[in-house]
Amino acid sequence: MRAWRDGDGGHDALGAAVEAARSGDEAAFRAVYTQVHPGLLRYVRVLVSDEAEDVTSEAWLQVVRDLHKFRGDGADFRAWAATIARHRALDHVRHARRRPAYPTPVEELPEPRTAPDAADLALDTLSTAEAVALVASLPVDQAEAVMLRAVLGLDAVAAAKVLGKRPGAVRMAAHRGLHRLAERLGATEDRPRHARGRDE
């Protein structure tokens, strides 16, 4: 079950909490944070694996600062928070590279990181961290698309807005990411067959 569903059960509980948080309701803000932060952090991890916590905290401070300007429902808030977090993450990548300030094309972001070997993971007891690490091992545009859609619960249009791309391109990236993940997971399924073939 996707955690982001819990708050969007028909009546947009997240949107209501955001609205209350805008007018100073601290308990509502805590609810918003509790609901949105895990997905946001996991998304940021795809962009800046080691500094994800710092970057996500920065993003939340900006959310706190600008919350009074936000208008929209729960899904809009997720997209807004993701946009802020993405900008903070890209800033971070840029500063880390000490390069002049111009937008870093996604393609130039560092390629991920240590990919866990899907074959070594027990799928039945796959932890969130392992699952995120597997997604993060995709090419970054695919990983971003998968995370925004499956983990933050954005639709293709909202995810495209966050990424500054067309919905079709984001859809395609997400689908390719799924194909690639299936390929890796399928490697575990196929392995016994190949092993048997060699043994005979």
Partner: protein, 337 residues
């Protein structure tokens, strides 16, 4: 990557050819090992099993203008466009969602994939929440500071009144701070500690009575009451609990780069601030929440019709103008700092 929508079919087709090539190579290898027959039967068996669940999907046509069984693509199952969408939305959880056409429970490809995505989107862990307190503290400080602003429906009036209130309470806060030994620092020279209540130190005083402001019915419990502050009296108020000198310290702190900030944190001048923020690690959050409403108060008339826009532009901390339409185009601004 290309954003050309026509890119999709070409890619799919290419991937398919590659996959088929892989399969041919696999079969060739198997043939050399004398396992051809077994391997073929095995694969055929998989295909038949898939075929039972497989339906013709509109997305299949994208693969090159004709129906191609996608399960050959990676040799291990099918993910068409519709199925991928359902996986991403988390809708693929079996027949109980009546309108769905694939039951992932038994599917050798979709079931693990759905499990993977569900795990990635699972509930937050305590580990992930360990920075929550700093963010909550920042929110609390911010909400407290904004209380006066949100008290009035009309922003312009609200800003002016808030400026007057802030100035008056700031004077009170200073008096209180001086009285309790929290002395202003050189960064923020203190006015006389007995500032008359009606001579605010900064900002345009609003001579009219605040009580005549519009929509008093919107008052919120706990928000700053414009008529209530009694400068010099020790009653709790936002600026009484936050010494005014902290704003100056915070401005100086936020203006520095990472290195300078780290150095500043070690100086005695910031000791009080660090203590109030609850540790060196929280100073930034504390300051961001503290300083920026102060800036709004300080320049209430600079952008009378857009009081909010003044805040990010004048802030010393990093900023990307964030609204729901924020896009890549705003990134260079924030990076230029």
């Amino acid at each position: 990557m290309s954003e050309d929508p026509n890119y999709e079919p070409r890619h799919d087709h290419g991937a398919e050819r590659d996959a088929q090539g892989d399969e041919r190579r696999d079969q060739h290898d198997a043939e050399r090992r004398g396992q051809h027959g077994d391997e073929r039967r095995d694969q055929q068996g998989r295909r038949d099993q898939q075929g039972d669940e497989r339906r013709y999907e509109p997305g299949d046509e994208l693969a090159g203008g004709y129906f191609v069984p996608r399960q050959d693509e990676y040799g291990a199952g099918a993910i068409d466009a519709d199925t991928a969408e359902q996986l991403l939305r988390g809708d693929l959880h079996g027949a109980r969602h009546g309108d769905l056409h694939v039951d992932t429970v038994d599917d050798p490809v979709l079931a693990p994939l759905a499990r993977l995505l569900d795990a990635a989107a699972g509930p937050g862990t305590p580990d992930e929440m360990r920075r929550a307190d700093a963010v909550f503290a920042a929110y609390a400080a911010r909400a407290q500071r904004r209380g006066g602003l949100r008290f009035f429906g009309m922003r312009l009036v609200g800003v002016k009144l808030a400026a007057a209130v802030a100035a008056a309470t700031a004077a009170g806060g200073l008096a209180l701070a001086a009285g309790t030994g929290v002395l202003p620092t050189p960064l923020h020279p203190a006015p006389a500690s007995h500032t008359p209540p009606n001579a605010p130190r900064t900002g345009p005083a609003t001579p009219g009575s605040p009580v005549s402001s519009p929509q008093p019915g919107e008052s919120q419990p706990g928000s700053a009451q414009p008529g209530s502050p009694q400068p010099g009296s020790p009653q709790p108020s936002p600026s009484a609990s936050v010494p005014a000198s902290f704003a100056g310290l915070c401005n100086a702190y936020l203006a520095g780069n990472k290195k300078e900030r780290a150095r500043q944190l070690t100086t005695p001048a910031l000791a009080e601030l660090v203590a109030a923020a609850g540790g060196e690690g929280n100073v930034e959050a504390y300051c961001v929440a503290l300083v920026e409403p102060g800036k709004e108060h300080g320049k209430p008339s600079a952008h009378p019709s857009h009081p909010d826009n003044a805040a990010p532009a004048s802030t010393a901390s990093d900023s990307t103008a964030p609204d729901s339409t924020a896009s890549e185009s705003t990134t260079p601004d924030s990076a230029a700092q």
